[in-house]
Structure formats: structure tokens, C-alpha cells
Symmetry: C2
Subunit: 233 residues, 2 copies
Amino acid sequence: MENLKNEEFIHHLSYDSVIFGFNGKLLKILVLEYHNTGLFALPGGFVKRNQSLNEAAKEGLTKRTGLKNVFLEQFYTFGEMERYDGNAMKHILEGNRLDTGKNRWMLDRFITVAYYALINYDKVTPVPDELSDSINWYAVDELPPLMMDHKEIVEKALEVLRKNLDRKIVGMNLLPSKFTMKHLQQVYEAILGEDLRRTTFQRKMLSLNVLDRHEKLYQGKAHKAPYLYSFKQ
Amino acid sequence: MENLKNEEFIHHLSYDSVIFGFNGKLLKILVLEYHNTGLFALPGGFVKRNQSLNEAAKEGLTKRTGLKNVFLEQFYTFGEMERYDGNAMKHILEGNRLDTGKNRWMLDRFITVAYYALINYDKVTPVPDELSDSINWYAVDELPPLMMDHKEIVEKALEVLRKNLDRKIVGMNLLPSKFTMKHLQQVYEAILGEDLRRTTFQRKMLSLNVLDRHEKLYQGKAHKAPYLYSFKQ
DNA sequence: CCAAAAGTGTTTTAGCTACACCCATGA
DNA sequence: TCATGGGTGTAGCTAAAACACTTTTGG
């Protein structure tokens, strides 16, 4: 636990990440479970004194997923007094048999900068952090009870993601490099939580002129094989 | 300067506000000039240990403008290492004859949560803070050289404001309670930095069904008198 | 009665939806 | 050849844009 030394981090400030993945059916996020506590939380961490905020979040994401150069964006900074729960953190430290004296700064109030990431579900083997014994994918509408205000953070992340859907090419990060139109539509439907019209969706996507069409995907099914697409450049 | 006591504030964390106003022609923001330094900066401040982040920003806005209940929204948290400039802050403290020993925490690196506000230009008598000898309106495209990364913060604020223009009823906060369609259009044009079509704009605004029409405004000019409008409820 | 600005009716255009039809595929 | 899912043409609808015309005002 030497990397949690008092001096190394900026106090009172943390980051938390809502890491989205798509398993082909459901939109999921990564959730940690802390040792011996039954507490679930978003993956997060602290900012080193000589490290930029965005770098810290990026580094944290890489540690948990092994992925680099993925879509990661800040979306809100949570700083309410109500989010402070010293007992929860004490519980976590004790569950890890850490000295609550030396690590007192971790029991203080924290303001947290929240990020969301979009990653390729299949390319990831999630790695728990030092304080946790597991990290797992959970469908966004079947989350375990999350500690402090983490549920609220997830909800805000979803809201921002939905709001940005029409501006950003979101599928790029959640899908493998080649995918069918149906896959792409499923991602959109999972994010929006509603069904979309097949023909309308296809035409809208094609009209954006951001997709390259490739060979067809033969699935061994008794129907027309769909084209594979990828995002341009 | 007792309200800058070491113990009272969370270290390494600040907020800065881009406070927009509209003088009838130009989109402007409030800029501070620090005592004896020639340094210009956005109005900002620190977060008390027992105060929520949003409350701190709201309180700071009220202090500088006297206004309560105005539109104020967080839009990004700036945490790059490059934004840290201990010399600038030292310069400011010295310009105010403050002990750089006791106030050493203010020379540290800061991560700042940026807000933007929309206020009614005519209802404000801006008040400088303790470290500044003036606070003034500057047109967004005629800003003085701002310290550290404050120019970048203003640019991001403008970007966010433009992106949100179609979703929020922005004019509500920047105009007096009654205004003509032309005034409203001028606000939009000032924010977007481009001209809009008169007829299209009028119809779009009316179709939103958020305006009440009132009496006409006689300006003593040789042309048809425009209606005055206000935002509903 | 003129010029300028404001308001609105009408036409044109573009995008979306619904529906249909055809195509490709493997059983 | 049948059932199934995929791709696209077309007709209809709606909202936005472009254009033009009328109205109001003070000189």
C-alpha cells in the first residue's frame, strides 16, 4: 500500500470513472467490490501532486482495463457535503487492515471529478484495485447498491452519454472494428433505452457518411448476410 | 484577510466563473484586475471545508454581482500541471502585502472547477474581491491578457454556451424581463458569433411557445413598432 | 407619401416515417 | 422453395428555410 502514502496525493480530491462496455446485448459498467465490506463502488482514485487530473483518470482506467487510448471524458464534478461518508471509507480501510491513523486523509471529505469511458467489452480483462477483491461488469439497469453518491454519478453519466449520442460517434468505442448495422443499432438502443426503427436508423447512419462498407458477414443463418461496416479513418 | 485563513479552505482546489452579460450589443464577461500587479483574472475563489462546491461558486457570484438565483452551471474542471504558476500567485499576494509564508497554500498547485453564469448586465454593480482593485466588463473578443489558463477557460465556456444554446432558454438571463424579438436575436448572434435570418429566428422562437407577447414598444422611429416579449412563467 | 423595420402568408426544400418490395441465405 | 432478416425505392408527411408581401411608424 506504499502507493497510498500521505504525501503523494492531493487531499480532498478524487476521480471516479463510469466505464461503459457493450456485450452485444446490454450496456454495462465496471463496478468494484471492496474487501470484506460488501461495499460496491465505481473504479476511481486520487491525483498525484505532480500529475494532471486527466492523466490520473487515464492512468486509473488503464490499470483497471489494460487499455490505452480509449475514449475518456470528464462530465461533472461532485462536491456536495452529503456525499461525504467517513464511515464508509473507514470501513474499507479496516476491511483491508489499513491503519486509519496514517491514512486519515482518506477519511476526509472528498470532491470527485467524474469521467465516463467507452471501451470494447471483449478486449478487456478487468483488474481490481488494491482495496478490492473483485471488479465486474453490471448491466446499467441491474446495478448492485453503490456506496455514497455513486448511483447518482452513473445516472448523470448516462444522461450525458444520451445527450451526446447524436453528436459523437459513440459506437466506435463500444464495438469491434467491424460490425453490422444491427450491432450498431443495438448499441444505440442500449444507450437510449428505447427501440429504434430499422430502416430509419440504417439510412441515418449511412447518410452521416462516416461508415465504410466491407464484405458481408455469413452467419450460417437462413437469411441475407448483412454487410460489415467500420468507422472511417 | 481573515477569511483567507489557512484552515478554512480546501487546499489545491478552486473555482473560477465566467460571468456573461449582454449590454445590448456585445457579449461581455467580468474580469478582475489584481492590486499592483497588472494581472487580469476571472473571478473565482476557494471552497470552505464545510461547504458544497456549487454553494461556494454561487456565493462567489453573489459577492461579485449582488445577484442571487441566477443561472450558474459547472462546465469543466481544469487540472493540468501547466496551469500551475506559483509566481503569479506570489505576485498577487505581494501586491496585496500579504505574508507569503502564512498563505503558502495559495502558492501551491490548484485544480479549478469552472462555472459559467448568465446575468442581466443592467442590474449589476460589480464588486471587486479582496485582492483586486477593479472588476470590469470586457467584450469576449476584446479581453485583456488573462493570467494562467483563464483565456482557455473562457473559450471553453463560450464553446459550451454555444452548444447548449438550442436546449436552454439562454436569453432569459441575459435580457431584461421585457424585450423585443430583435434584442433576443442580438443575444443569440452575439453568442454564436454569426448572423441569423430575421424571419426564421422569429418563427423559431415563437414556435417554442415560451414567450408571452405584450404591448408594442414605441421608439419614436419611423418604422413599425415591435412587440415586447417576456419569457413565460 | 416615403423609408425603414416588423410581422406574417405562401412556396420550396429537406428530412423523416411508413410501407413495400426485392434480395440473399441456409434449411 | 420457404422462412427469415437485410437493403433500398417510393410516397406521404412535417418542420424548417426562403421569399415575398403587407403593416406600421415618424419624418
